[in-house]
């Protein structure tokens, strides 16, 4: 699967919450894109992940 553009080795039974935990993501102020679904921090479901899934975990940064 892909997480933030990098390949990530999927494992049986992996869920979104587990993934975020594995990645040690500071979940405050992040938004997660799972396929076409977009979830804001605190509303991220513990969805099961498929090995073809594409995940984006983003936050707000400086910019002009």
């Amino acid at each position: 699967m892909h997480v933030n553009g990098q390949t990530y080795s999927h494992r049986e039974g992996l869920t979104l919450h587990a993934l975020l935990a594995d990645l040690k993501v500071n979940q405050k102020n992040v938004v997660v894109l799972h396929g076409d679904d977009i979830y804001r921090a605190g509303k991220i479901p513990d969805a099961p992940l498929d090995k073809r899934d594409v995940i984006e975990i983003v936050t707000m940064m400086q910019g002009g």
Partner: protein
């Protein structure tokens, strides 16, 4: 204290408010949050600018960086209109996708649309920008498109429902000032939505000039963030934008090919003619 800064006390005539997407603003200076040395300087500079609309970007979090700090952890944007951008997107698809993420992230429908294929001059793609704008307007976004100073494109972007047009003065971050004056004049003359001069302004006088020739607002980032003293420069841009807008409303003097004396012509003390001998 920072909070109060976001509620300017001295209010100009409400009739001169800037209205975008149904919301009114007293400040006509929008600022970016990029390139600051520290969040403290950024915070003080935003306060000093008096800006009510502030741009941000959307980026992937750094994986495995638990202490990762996003801008929301550092800055209190309450009272400000956040304007997330799609900077870095090279295609319509990327820009639309980032806009959707930004909407959820920022809890606003406002989006500064940027579709920029080249990295050297960071110039927007007119065709992709129009395509992306059509999609986003259709999805209910309040779209502020960054665009080349192209009057025909400006008309088309306004026609499809963009909230503003944001033509560039010169390349992003170049500080080269207003290189497209003639095109900006036409865009402003024909405008049916607010015209925001975006990108390239390097000093306050260029922001003042933009307001004098009729821009509705300006957006400044690098010129403030990269100044030796960003906070003082932010205050300078605030004054300059107000000065330019005041001048636009006050109505400038005519330009003359020749001079026109400031002092009375009559009554000058001249040497007398020598007395004729009697």
């Amino acid at each position: 204290m920072t909070t109060t800064a976001f509620e300017p006390t001295a209010a100009p005539a409400a009739t001169d408010d800037l209205t975008i997407g149904g919301r009114s603003f007293r400040s006509r200076l929008m600022v970016g949050t990029g390139k600051y040395k520290s969040f403290d300087v950024m915070r003080d500079a935003i306060a000093a600018s008096g800006a009510e609309i502030v741009t941000v970007s959307i980026r992937r979090v750094e994986i495995g960086a638990p202490g990762h700090v996003g801008i929301l952890d550092a800055i209190d944007f309450s009272g400000l209109q956040l304007l997330p951008n799609t900077a870095g997107c090279k295609t319509t698809e990327e820009a639309v996708r980032v806009a959707r993420l930004a909407r959820v992230m920022s809890e606003t429908d406002w989006i500064k649309l940027e579709v920029i294929p080249d990295a050297k001059y960071l110039l927007p793609d007119p065709v992709e920008t129009l395509r992306a704008a059509e999609i986003l307007v259709g999805e209910g976004f309040i779209v502020l498109p960054y665009m080349p100073a192209d009057p025909v494109l400006a008309r088309r972007l306004a026609a499809i429902g963009c909230a503003t047009v944001m033509p560039l003065a010169s390349p992003i971050g170049s500080g080269r000032g207003i290189l497209n004056r003639a095109s900006l004049d036409i865009i402003i003359e024909e405008a049916t939505v607010p015209v925001v001069v975006d990108a390239g302004l390097g000093v306050p006088s260029e922001a003042a000039a933009s307001m004098e020739f009729g821009a509705s607002a300006v957006l400044v980032n690098t010129a403030i963030a990269e100044a030796k003293d960003p906070v003082r420069m932010a205050a300078a841009f605030k004054k300059a934008v107000e000065a330019g807008r005041d001048a636009f409303i006050a109505g400038r003097m005519p330009v003359r090919a020749y001079a026109s004396a400031s002092s009375p012509i009559a009554g000058v003390v001249r040497m007398p003619e020598p007395e004729a001998p009697t």
